[in-house]
C-alpha cells in the first residue's frame, strides 16, 4: 500500500466537466442504441463480428495449442493414477462391445441384402471438416465455441458440429477462416428430437444449463431415465438419428438430458454438411430477421 502506483488516482477530475458527462451519456446512449438495433435484426452485426473473430483467429489458434498440450499432460498424469480400474472397466466393456460388433455385422450384412433387393440408392455422402476449438466464447447467457475453419474450408451456416460422442451444436456464423458454433445447451437452441426407443417426438431446448431440457414431448409418452435421445430430422436442420444424449433427470425442472458431447475438454470438432438447408435456408439466411435465434 506504500508504493505510489497502488494508491488511487488523486488527479482525476471526477465527473467534473460537462463534456465528460456528455461523453458518458453519449456512449451509454450508443450502447443502448446498438442493443436495440441488434435486437431488431440479429444478423446486422454478424459480418463485422466474424471479420473481427477472423482477424484474431490466428492468435487464438496459437494460444489454444500450448494450453491444449498442457491440459493433455495433466490428463496423462491423472489417468495413470486410475490405470488399473480403467483397465478392468475397459476389459468388461470390450467383452460387451464384441457382442455388439457381432450384432452389428449381422445387421450390416442383412441391411446390405435388403438394400440390394429394394434398389435403394443410399444417402448422399457427407462432406465434413475437422476443426480445432480455438476459443470458448461462452458466458453466463451464451454457450458457443470458436473453431478454426470457415468458408475457406467450405463451412457454412447450419452445418452440424459433432464429436465422436454425439451432436454438439451447429454452425451459427462463419468467417473466412473461423466459425462460431452454437452449442445445444445455448438458450437459443431448439432441436427437434426423437426418443430413440419409442420414436416419440419432442424438442430439445437449451437453457444455458449443463443439461438441456426436453419439451413438447408427444402426449402419452412415458419418459424414463436412461432413454436415448436422437435428432429427429424434422425441420431439415439435422439428419435423423444423430445421437444427442440420455434422459438423466425427471423432476420439477422438467426432463433433463445429459448430452454425450461435452464442450469442456474438447480440442477438435467435426463440422458436417449433410446437405440440408432446412430452417436456415440459404437465401432466407441472408435476409430473414431472427433466424439466428432459430426458433
Amino acid at each position: 500500500m506504500k508504493e505510489k502506483p497502488r494508491s488511487v488516482a488523486r488527479d482525476a477530475p471526477p465527473m467534473r466537466s460537462l463534456a465528460q458527462r456528455f461523453a458518458f451519456l453519449l456512449l451509454l446512449g450508443t450502447a443502448v442504441g446498438l442493443l436495440m438495433i441488434g435486437r431488431a435484426d440479429p444478423r446486422i452485426f454478424e459480418e463485422t463480428r466474424m471479420a473481427l473473430i477472423d482477424s484474431t483467429a490466428p492468435v487464438l489458434d496459437a494460444l489454444s495449442r500450448p494450453l491444449a498440450t498442457a491440459s493433455d499432460a495433466v490428463d496423462h498424469v491423472r489417468e495413470l493414477t486410475h490405470i488399473r480400474e480403467t483397465n478392468a472397466a475397459l476389459k468388461a466393456e470390450n467383452a460387451r462391445l464384441m457382442q455388439w460388433q457381432h450384432a452389428a455385422r449381422t445387421l450390416f450384412a442383412e441391411n446390405d441384402q435388403l438394400r440390394s433387393l429394394l434398389n435403394y440408392t443410399g444417402e448422399e455422402p457427407v462432406h465434413s471438416v475437422a476443426a480445432r476449438v480455438i476459443g470458448d466464447s461462452s458466458g453466463p447467457f451464451i454457450r458457443s465455441l470458436l473453431v478454426n475453419a470457415g468458408t475457406r474450408e467450405g463451412v457454412q451456416r447450419g452445418h452440424a458440429a459433432i464429436t465422436g460422442a454425439g451432436l454438439l451444436g451447429r454452425v451459427a456464423a462463419t468467417g473466412e477462416r473461423s466459425s462460431r458454433v452454437l452449442l445445444i445447451s445455448d438458450l437459443n437452441s431448439r432441436i427437434p428430437v426423437l426418443i430413440e426407443s419409442s420414436r416419440a417426438r419432442a424438442v430439445l431446448a437449451g437453457d444455458n444449463s449443463r443439461r438441456p431440457s426436453l419439451t413438447f414431448v408427444t402426449a402419452n409418452t412415458s419418459v424414463k431415465i436412461g432413454l436415448r435421445i436422437v435428432t429427429s430430422g424434422h425441420g431439415g436442420m439435422f439428419p435423423t438419428g444423430l445421437p444427442i444424449g440420455v434422459v438423466a433427470e425427471i423432476g420439477e425442472t422438467g426432463i433433463r438430458i445429459e448430452t454425450f458431447a461435452s464442450s469442456d475438454q474438447l480440442e477438435f470438432v467435426r463440422l458436417v454438411d449433410y446437405g440440408l438447408d432446412g430452417v436456415i435456408g440459404k437465401e432466407s439466411a441472408a435476409t430473414a430477421p431472427g433466424v439466428g435465434r432459430n426458433r
Partner: protein, 171 residues
C-alpha cells in the same frame, strides 16, 4: 532530435498500455482452458482491468476507450452487441466518480468496492439479457461468473500494479 522522437513514441506507447492490455485481456478471455465448466463462469478479465485503471489512472483510459473494449467483448463473445459496452462504461463511471472515496484506502477496500460494482453490473447484465430474451433467465451462471471475477481480482490487481509501475507518472 531523433531521440526526442523515440522518447515521444515510447511515452505514447506507455500511455496506451492500459488500453492495449485491456484489449489483449478480452482476447485472452476466450482461450479455452480445458477445465470442466470453466468456460461459462470464466472471470471477466476486462471488468477487472476497467475498474483498476478507472480508479488508478483514468487519464490513461478515457471513456471512449472503455466503450471500444466493451464493444470488442460483445463482438467476440457472440452476445448482444452493446451489452458489455454499456456495462463497462457504467463500471467506469462509478469507479471514476468514487476515486476520492477510494483514495489512500487499503487494497481490501478497493477489492470490496470491486465486489459491490461487479454485483451491480452482474444484476444489470442479467436484467438486460432477460429483457432481450423476453423471459426470466436463470441468474445463477451470471453470479458464479461474478464470484469468479471477484475472487480473481487480487491476482489481476497485482498484475496491473506491476504494469502500472512501468508507466510514466502523472503530469
Amino acid at each position: 532530435m531523433k531521440s526526442a522522437v523515440w522518447q515521444n513514441l515510447d511515452l505514447a506507447g506507455r500511455k496506451l498500455t492500459p488500453f492495449l492490455l485491456s484489449l489483449v485481456l478480452v482476447i485472452l478471455n476466450l482461450v479455452p482452458l480445458h477445465l470442466p465448466s470453466y468456460a461459462a463462469i470464466s472471470p471477466n478479465f476486462a471488468l477487472m482491468a476497467i475498474y483498476y485503471w478507472a480508479l488508478h489512472r483514468p487519464s490513461l483510459l478515457p471513456s471512449g476507450a472503455v466503450f471500444i473494449i466493451g464493444l470488442l467483448q460483445d463482438f467476440m463473445s457472440g452476445g448482444p452487441i452493446g451489452q458489455n459496452a454499456a456495462i463497462l462504461v457504467i463500471v467506469y463511471i462509478i469507479a471514476v466518480s468514487q476515486t476520492r472515496f477510494f483514495y489512500g484506502k487499503s487494497f481490501f477496500v478497493v477489492w470490496w468496492g470491486f465486489m459491490v460494482v461487479s454485483l451491480c453490473v452482474t444484476t444489470m447484465g442479467w436484467v438486460i439479457a432477460s429483457l432481450l430474451d423476453a423471459s426470466i433467465l436463470a441468474p445463477e451462471p451470471a453470479f458464479y461468473e461474478c464470484a469468479m471475477t471477484v475472487a480473481a481480482y487480487p491476482i489481476f490487481g497485482w498484475l496491473f500494479v506491476q504494469v502500472h509501475r512501468t508507466l510514466p507518472q502523472e503530469g
